[in-house]
């Protein structure tokens, strides 16, 4: 059953079209991440689901109720804001009680709900404190607590972790995941951080310029990105894009070719069927950094692996893994290697490319082939 259905949703501010026909649905209990660069319309979309922005055209259903013109308070939603938006003059407890008071929930029930949620989030020790006396992580918890006391049909999160420092952000990410697993509420989560989207979501909607570029589970979004935008946005370092041409090798098997420095040509064999789907000979070859590895006995002869070599320009060790900038012709390509097979600067590195994971894009439409 769908908790949220969005059909052909549009939003314009004057002549500026911010959302250009968005379709989306969230099944009950699902965790949907809306991810995209700033200005892609994801926060506007969330505000429209919450009822804080008006709908220009299209439909929003929560459950099976059309809520286009329903007030935020009557939509059965709860929202966590990036700025937390805790009421500064009220104690933590009063913050959590405010919504229930507005709705006329009996005092005894309020107390019970607050006690339950406070225990769940472990915020009992500071129920009497004001938000100003709390750390960022504690405020974040309180903001979630204020949403949780509502027991709504839909949870909305608007970049809730962006104001936390890196370490705390990772901890809170895990907590949000745990929390979702425990309470199982449908959640719409806006973030610009693709790692948050990948780790938390059951499905990800990647947005760009007011359109949903791809709406799929994390695995599909990462491994079969719908277009070059999604491919480049998801994953860090980004996928490498190389202009290439489809040819057939001597045996008739297809391959992609691209020029290398010094006049040579790299020819990497393609796996079955991909070449037939291509509209033209010209394609964009997309290779993720981790699909490059040092040639070895174990991978050089392996099915689907192509071999080539490339000049190493820069090496960037991070401890757990080492990034290297390689020269593919006049193009720079980033590879991600384990430290024990990491190259040295200036080395002409023999590479094995996992072509089974490579993506081909149509240069005209930028879509996945």
């Amino acid at each position: 059953m769908a908790s949220l259905t969005i059909r052909n949703l549009r939003k314009s501010f004057g002549v500026v079209e911010v959302l250009k026909g968005v379709d989306l649905e969230a099944n009950t209990g699902e965790f949907i991440a809306l991810v995209g660069p700033s200005g892609c319309g994801k926060s506007t979309l969330l505000a429209m689901i919450a009822g804080l922005e008006t709908v220009t055209s299209g439909e929003i259903y929560i459950g099976d109720r059309l809520v286009n013109s329903v007030q935020p308070k009557d939509r059965d939603i709860a929202m966590v804001f990036q700025s937390y938006a805790l009421y500064p003059t009220m104690s933590v407890k009063e913050n959590m009680a405010f919504g229930m008071e507005s709705r006329g929930v009996p005092k005894a029930e309020q107390e019970k709900t607050i006690a339950r949620v406070a225990a769940l989030l472990q915020i009992e020790p500071f129920l009497k404190r004001k938000p100003g006396q709390l750390s960022g992580g504690q405020r974040q918890r309180v903001a979630m607590g204020r949403a949780l006391v509502r027991d709504p049909a839909l949870f909305l999160f608007d970049e809730p972790l962006s104001n936390l420092d890196a370490k705390l952000r990772v901890d809170m990410r895990t907590e949000i995941k745990k929390l979702h697993q425990r309470i199982g509420k449908t959640t719409i989560y806006v973030t610009h951080d693709q790692v948050e989207a990948m780790t938390l979501a059951s499905r990800i909607a990647v947005m760009h310029q007011g359109e949903v570029q791809q709406f799929a589970d994390p695995d599909t979004v990462y491994n079969r990105p719908a277009n070059t935008f999604v491919a480049g946005f998801m994953g860090s370092p980004s996928m490498n894009f190389i202009d290439a041409e489809i040819t057939s090798t001597g045996g008739g098997a297809p391959a992609v070719n691209f020029p290398l420095s010094g006049g040579g040509v790299a020819s990497l064999p393609l796996h079955n069927g991909v070449a037939d789907r291509a509209q033209s000979k010209k394609v964009i070859l997309g290779i993720r950094p981790e699909h490059l590895s040092r040639q070895s006995a174990s991978n050089s002869g392996k099915q689907g692996f192509a071999t080539m070599s490339a000049l190493v320009e820069v090496v960037e060790p991070t401890g757990a893994e080492t990034m290297a900038v390689l020269k593919f012709g006049d193009r720079e390509v980033v590879g991600r290697f384990s430290p024990d097979e990491a190259p040295k600067t200036g080395e002409n590195m023999p590479l094995a490319v996992d072509m089974t994971r490579a993506c081909l894009f149509d240069p005209a439409t930028t879509r996945l082939i």
């Binding site: 919450a50 804080l52 308070k73 804001f81 938006a85 405010f98 919504g99 507005s102």
Partner: protein, 302 residues
């Protein structure tokens, strides 16, 4: 080598000494100037305060500005209840209470309306709300005397001519531009997310105002109340023009002091009367001044 280092230190010491002497001189100049200016500021007040405790004969003999030879409090009760103004010998008491009856409701009403206006113009913007705000801002720059004749006409029509209630109405409206500006600018810095959260929490226009905006407002309320209280209390043009006789506020009545030129000038009683008229705003500044400065410089809570 060691000599060179030593030489350098000596030079540095000499430079440091010159710099510190220069700093000392500049300090003396600054404090001297500040002291001088405060004396210029405080002397008139001092003269009036001292004269209110001197006898009129002494003032006549020694001049207006001189140190007191005697000390007596007689001038104060005289000024309060017996002193003759405009042919009536009831002191300034009645005018003082007129001022109180004018300033208290006018301050409360204009501050409250300013808070609501500011709340709407910052947080519930509607098409054209910026234009409304722009028009209200004009009132800040418009001199009060421009409105004198219209007010006289309007109060006459309303049956409020020559009444304290009329002045309450005038000051409420004249002050609205300022109070709206104060609250609007303060509320603009309160994050919109707070209101969005409250709306999702089920709070409406008034609940958000009372439960979220007002609890955040004490600094700007204090600023506005002090501003309005002193402004309305000290204002006399409307009082003089729109009201007459026993309905005037104290500032307007004090103007009549200088006009009762037939009798000998009683500088002692006049001084006391002037001080009685000046006391309420002085007290407000005295007790609220630090909140005033704090409120003006304080931003909203993040």
């Amino acid at each position: 080598m060691a000599d060179a280092v030593l030489g350098a230190t000596v030079v540095e010491d000499r430079e440091a000494a010159v710099a510190s002497r220069r700093r000392l001189i500049s300090r003396i100049v600054i404090y001297g100037l500040l002291g001088l200016i405060s004396v210029v500021y405080i002397v008139p007040l001092l003269v009036v305060v001292l004269n209110s405790f001197r006898t009129n004969a002494e003032i006549g003999a020694m001049g207006l500005i001189s140190l007191p030879q005697s000390f007596r409090l007689d001038a104060w009760p005289q000024a309060w209840s017996d002193f003759c103004i405009g042919g009536q010998c009831n002191g300034v008491a009645r005018y003082f209470w007129n001022s109180v009856a004018m300033v208290v409701p006018a301050t409360i009403i204009s501050t409250a309306l300013g808070a609501i206006n500011g709340y709407i113009l910052s947080k519930w913007k509607f098409p054209g709300s910026e234009i409304v705000f722009g028009c209200m801002l004009l009132g800040v720059f418009m001199p009060g005397q421009i409105a004198l004749l219209p007010w006289a006409f309007l109060l006459g029509k309303l049956g409020l001519a020559n009444s304290v209630y009329g002045l309450v109405l005038v000051h409420c409206i004249q002050g609205l531009s300022f109070t709206t500006l104060f609250f609007r600018n303060y509320y603009v810095s309160i994050p919109d997310d707070l209101l969005k959260a409250a709306r999702i929490d089920g709070a409406g226009f008034w609940r958000i105002f009372w439960k979220i905006m007002i609890p955040l407002s004490p600094p700007i309320i204090i600023v506005t109340v002090i501003w309005q209280f002193t402004g309305i209390w000290n204002e006399y043009l409307f009082g003089v023009v729109l009201n007459s006789g026993s309905n005037q506020p104290i500032t307007s009545a004090l103007v009549a002091l200088s006009m009762s030129g037939t009798t000998v000038r009683t500088y002692d009683v006049m001084s006391a009367a002037v001080l009685i008229g000046a006391l309420p705003p002085l007290l407000v500044y005295f007790f609220g001044g630090k909140y005033f400065v704090r409120g003006l410089t304080q931003g909203a809570i993040k």
